[in-house]
Symmetry: C2
Subunit: 331 residues, 2 copies
């Protein structure tokens, strides 16, 4: 059967085709496959530009059939001020893994946000206390929003604190998410105090200097470090990695570009101190949370395979949607 052209999907179409629930379930599935050793190594490459950079993540997965996904994301921190453009922009190409045909070309923004939030939810499902009620979200952008929404799917939260250097952003976040989620979301005036009252803390800021001190963290907390995705970014006090249970999405990647790399670099811990990759826990090969008191830190740098499953979920849903634009690039 010859393909009938390449599906073209805009951001709002991707958003309509992929629910957070489905994305969490797809991402959990891929962590399980990875933990079972059933996935091939994906590829990552980065190219520096003058004011930012480009990252490519690519991977192949056998799902309902073999699929290949390559995501090219641009990351330009000054984009909004300089050009009125988003910080992150990108395009995903999805190909048939059996014959290479490009099945779809789509906006990557929505998938990047959702699959990252989904990983936080999967991690919380296995690593946060089941009775977690309160979360602090550091960084009130798109990723902060999806993090809180995603946590709500896996833990019975009734309260959240919103923290951001930009107070207006935090206010806006608190108002919007309170009303959307029906829980009490308030601005965290004092981060230390908010964190001390929380069960879960997610960091998703562009910070280059840590702001989450070890002293803030109460016993039993689950911390997800989501923001750091290059060697210059840092959110967590590296001492937070000492003596606590550290879980990573991909060990090598976290050791290079995640928050983990600062703790390794200053010699506070070694790779042997890492408890597990999240996939090993989802697959049941390593233990997750073992007590209500232990502090667990998850370092999330984003796996290419998360992009693959999320993209495939969008594509398979779009197939039934006849209104979607198609193009034959090879005509």
């Amino acid at each position: 059967m010859k393909p009938e052209g390449t599906l073209l999907l805009k951001r709002h179409e991707v958003a309509e085709l992929l629910t957070l629930e489905e994305c969490i379930s797809a991402v959990e599935q891929v962590f399980k496959l990875q933990g079972e050793g059933k996935t091939a190594a994906p590829g990552v490459l980065g190219i520096h530009a003058h004011d930012g950079g480009f990252h490519i993540k690519a991977g192949l997965l056998d799902l309902s059939r073999p699929y290949f996904v390559a995501k090219a994301n641009a990351n330009f921190p000054q984009n909004m001020q300089r050009f009125g453009l988003p910080l992150i922009q990108g395009i995903i190409v999805l190909c048939d893994g059996e014959n290479g045909y490009p099945l779809a070309v789509m906006d990557s923004t929505e998938i990047t946000i959702l699959r990252t939030g989904a990983a936080t939810a999967v991690a919380a499902k296995y690593l946060a206390r089941p009775d977690s009620k309160v979360a602090t979200i550091c960084g009130c952008g798109n990723q902060g929003r999806v993090s809180l929404r995603a946590l709500m799917k896996v833990r019975p939260l009734d309260r959240a604190y919103a923290f951001d250097n930009d107070g207006a952003q935090a206010e806006h976040f608190a108002r919007e998410l309170s009303s959307e989620l029906g829980i009490e979301v308030t601005v965290a005036g004092d981060l230390a105090e908010a964190v001390r009252k929380s069960d879960i803390c997610v960091t998703c800021t562009p910070s280059k200097r840590y702001f989450l001190n070890r002293e803030y963290i109460p016993p039993g907390m689950f911390v997800a470090a989501v923001g750091a995705d290059n060697e210059e970014k840092q959110e967590l006090d590296p001492r937070l990695m000492q003596k606590n249970k550290i879980i990573v999405d991909l060990l090598e990647q976290c050791a290079t570009i995640g928050d983990l790399h600062h703790a390794l670099e200053c010699g506070l811990i070694t790779r042997e101190d890492i408890h597990a990759e999240l996939g090993e826990i989802v697959a049941g090969r390593k233990t997750g949370r073992e007590s209500a008191e232990e502090i667990i830190v998850f370092d999330s740098t984003g796996m290419a395979l998360q992009d693959v499953v999320a993209t495939v979920a969008v594509y398979e849903r779009a197939l039934s949607n006849n209104s979607t634009a198609r193009m034959n690039f090879f005509a």
Copy 2:
């Protein structure tokens, strides 16, 4: 200035927008920039699939402005027999190098063929005898066609031999190119004899075992090895690399996936025996041909930067073309 959407270009549009002359000149320019040390290192990554594989080549170049290009090519050798699909299919994403906006998404097939043929022409311009009259083309597919067309732009050929394991392909090639180029193109019944009568020999086959023996090669010949782009492919007798002048497009890449790697692997030569990268010769930093007798071998594996310049040439030409489709992926 906000971008107005992403240009979408089909294969026939790319072909109409990029002439071989322009592509040769763009590719010569990028070899010069590279030889002058003015280009940043591009990135390459490969993902194996069951019946083939995917390759991504990405790079950033400061041309009239900074541009980033990522090319994702699928290579499935049995595609035609199994699915009626081409061996190589792919998509290129071109982004603004200053803010990451995706300026264009286009078919990669035409660009891959043309930029490869263009590299052969640039190499021939610096490395083939100026009075070269006869060429043998091994492999009568698309790459063979563009190779002969490209050589015609830089050398006064009046005769060519077409060689292919598939005799019908060779016949078809000879008929088509004779009439198109107005020179005598005949099928090479005996490869050794055809090569002996030639000044230039280009190999662009999918062969996994060498067929161009050292004994066939006459003094003064320029040989371009174009087909090998993974470690399993091989076209040249590795002994051909001994004592002759070896030029590569990218040393590390040729040492890994080019025909060169077989000669290195069996210990016939070392990296020190490589005379130059083509860019160094185009930039005037190393000598090209020094006598009418020397045999020069060019190992071409394809640089990401060739894709960048060729893509940019297509894009800048397309900007003036109002009929081109645009899409706002971020809407």
